[in-house]
């Protein structure tokens, strides 16, 4: 077993780290306070090719695979969770459905501009009445001539405020429900009938835009159906399977950054005559943070490798998402405690990272849903 990263992956990490140090970290607090990512930074993210990392060069992507993508998100996660989430929602779920299940025509039409970041993507499944119970969506799609007419709304859509291309899930046959009744569509924000609600004000990842989407008699060409009519839920699950993995990458980056900051702080903070890093209470916390992070990192890259090999990763990605988000919560909590009062002050990044971390147990499928997926798989297989 060779656990080394390839040359190009090492270089990708190195480049991303330098970018994050020079361009992202200095703006992280401003992004949180202003609740937006400045256009100049968006431009630089595009120039660096960060919007197309895992996708094949054939479609204008970078061709770095799931492993390269997790590496990039890890490094982004060290600097700003808001920026990491922008990229992740665009890449892992926004574009991914088209990439996995789109026709050749759809891929040629949409992927190049999405990979370059000229256009931003989003994934719209959740509705006011359908969160974890995704099958309960109520947005309808009725066939009419060459189009489907969509009516309904989506809630809490990440990148919803800026997305040009949205993968929308709608009911095409109420009677069939999940099996055969839901269809996935490529929706363009320019289509008449498409509108967005105001941005939500959130606890964390405040630089990432989250809002409602409304579809009023919106005509979507039949050519924009992703995969087969009625099999949209399969596309949704396949997309989320891959998407969840990369969330682990961003969590790894955040944990490593928190550990580094905590070590630095504990090495300088003198109480009772010596730096607190010499105190066992702090040492135990750092050790646990490191143990947790090493385990998380190993798991993320192993799952990414499996994904790159073409191995189905449904259970593994659910585990990655569940364990990474819960690990990050433990690590960030210890980081706050190690920093003491400073961990609560907005002068330091710790409190922002604490607020940013909490969403990971909720979005991309709550950890309760992940447990359902894992347990369902265990029961089905009859063993680990």
């Amino acid at each position: 077993m060779d656990f080394t990263f390839s040359e190009e992956h090492e270089m990708l990490r190195d480049m991303t780290r330098k970018f994050v140090d020079n361009e992202v970290k200095p703006l992280a607090r401003q992004i949180d306070e202003e609740e937006r990512i400045p256009p100049e930074l968006m431009g630089k993210l595009r120039e660096q090719g960060f919007f197309g990392i895992p996708f094949s060069e054939e479609y204008g992507g970078v061709g770095a695979g799931e492993t390269g993508y997790c590496i990039v998100l890890e490094e982004m996660g060290r600097g700003s969770a808001s920026v990491a989430v922008l990229l992740a929602a665009h890449t892992s779920i926004g574009v991914m459905g088209i990439y996995l299940d789109g026709t050749e025509e759809q891929k040629q039409k949409y992927l190049p501009e999405l990979c370059s970041g000229e256009k931003i993507a989003a994934f719209a499944l959740t509705e006011p009445g359908a969160g974890s119970d995704a099958a309960a969506i109520a947005t309808t799609a009725v066939p009419d001539g060459d189009d489907y007419v969509l009516n309904g709304s989506k809630l809490y859509i990440t990148n919803g405020d800026i997305a040009d291309v949205v993968t929308v899930f709608a009911v095409t046959d109420k009677g069939l429900g999940v099996r055969g009744g839901i269809t996935a569509f490529i929706v363009e924000s320019s289509m008449p009938g498409f509108s967005r609600g105001p941005r939500e004000k959130k606890m964390g990842i405040r630089g990432s835009g989250t809002c409602e989407l409304f579809f009023k008699d919106m005509r979507v060409p039949k050519a924009n159906v992703i995969g087969k009519i009625g099999l949209g839920f399969v596309t949704a699950m396949k997309t989320l399977d891959v998407g969840r993995l990369s969330l682990g990458g961003a969590c790894v980056g955040a944990c490593k950054e928190l550990i580094d900051l905590s070590i630095q702080h504990a090495s300088q903070r003198v109480q009772f005559g010596e730096p607190i890093i010499r105190k066992q209470a702090i040492q135990w916390m750092l050790a646990e943070m490191a143990g947790d992070t090493f385990a998380m990192e190993s798991m993320v890259y192993r799952a990414a490798w499996m994904c790159d090999q073409g191995i189905k990763v449904s259970r593994e990605s659910a585990i990655v998402k569940m364990v990474s988000s819960e690990t990050l919560d433990r690590v960030v909590d210890k980081a706050v405690q190690i920093h003491g009062g400073m961990g609560y002050m907005q002068d330091y990044p710790i409190e922002m990272m604490y607020r940013d971390a909490r969403i990971n147990r909720i979005f991309e499928g709550t950890n309760e849903v992940q447990r359902m997926v894992i347990a369902g798989d265990l029961a089905r297989k009859g063993r680990f």
């Binding site: 040359e7 090492e10 270089m11 990708l12 480049m15 120039e47 090719g49 060069e57 770095a64």
Partner: protein, 228 residues
């Protein structure tokens, strides 16, 4: 134009530290391109026009490959790595001899660029030595370069001022004369597919006693800690 850049892999001083007990530099990460050589690569990339070829040359072992890939990611087309064990451990005389031979082996270049000095000993010898070996004009501490009609107009830091040289010429560029751009993800992935040739000392028409430790005139006898 064909442009060659000579790059020296050096310890990463951001992560290396001095062991006081052993009076030596302990490296903690991969070797990096000498900063002034990176500036030289950036100059080469900025001068590039349609049809130009950029080639990077390095003397080193496998540890030099990362530094080469970084130059390739910045926009260089291909690389020559002289990793023949016989060529390692040389001084400026031996290294310049090898590099000049490699440059000749790779064909005629219009412009050769390198850093004006390295972070190792800061003496800046190799560039002028290569120019002498190739019989071409050179300039050191170059800060600004403009190519036109078979000549290159330069500005230099320090006492030397502006000048014009006929091509082919060698320019040793001043560290910090530009800010190398971070390669983007596409360039990074492309870099790993670009060719790295590894000619042997024999391929270059040299004998082992002209190169490497055997060919070095200057020897490092002792390394010590500075006084204070």
């Amino acid at each position: 134009m064909r442009i060659a850049i000579c790059v020296k892999p050096v310890p990463d001083l951001n992560t290396a530290y001095v062991s006081k007990s052993r009076a030596e530099l302990v490296e903690q990460s991969k070797r990096v391109p000498n900063p002034a050589d990176e500036n030289a690569v950036a100059v080469a990339v900025s001068l590039r026009t349609e049809g130009d070829e950029l080639v990077v040359f390095t003397v080193g072992a496998d540890t030099a490959v990362d530094a080469l890939r970084r130059a390739l990611a910045m926009g260089v087309d291909r690389a020559y790595l002289i990793d023949d064990p016989a060529a390692q451990g040389g001084d400026a005389l031996a290294d310049a001899t090898v590099l000049a031979a490699a440059l000749n082996h790779a064909g005629a270049f219009d412009l050769i660029l390198c850093g004006s000095n390295s972070i190792v000993a800061n003496t800046g010898q190799v560039g002028p030595r290569i120019a002498e070996a190739l019989g071409i004009p050179h300039a050191t501490r170059v800060t600004v370069v403009a190519v036109a009609d078979g000549t290159v107009a330069i500005e230099r830091a320090g006492a030397l001022g502006a000048a014009k040289l006929a091509l082919p010429a060698l320019l040793a560029v001043e560290p910090g004369c530009n800010t190398p751009r971070l390669p983007n993800a596409m360039a990074v992935m492309k870099a790993s597919k670009k060719a790295i040739e590894r000619p042997s000392v024999v391929d270059l028409g040299l004998s082992p006693d002209e190169v490497g430790e055997a060919g070095a005139a200057v020897r490092l006898r002792v390394v010590e800690l500075p006084e204070t």
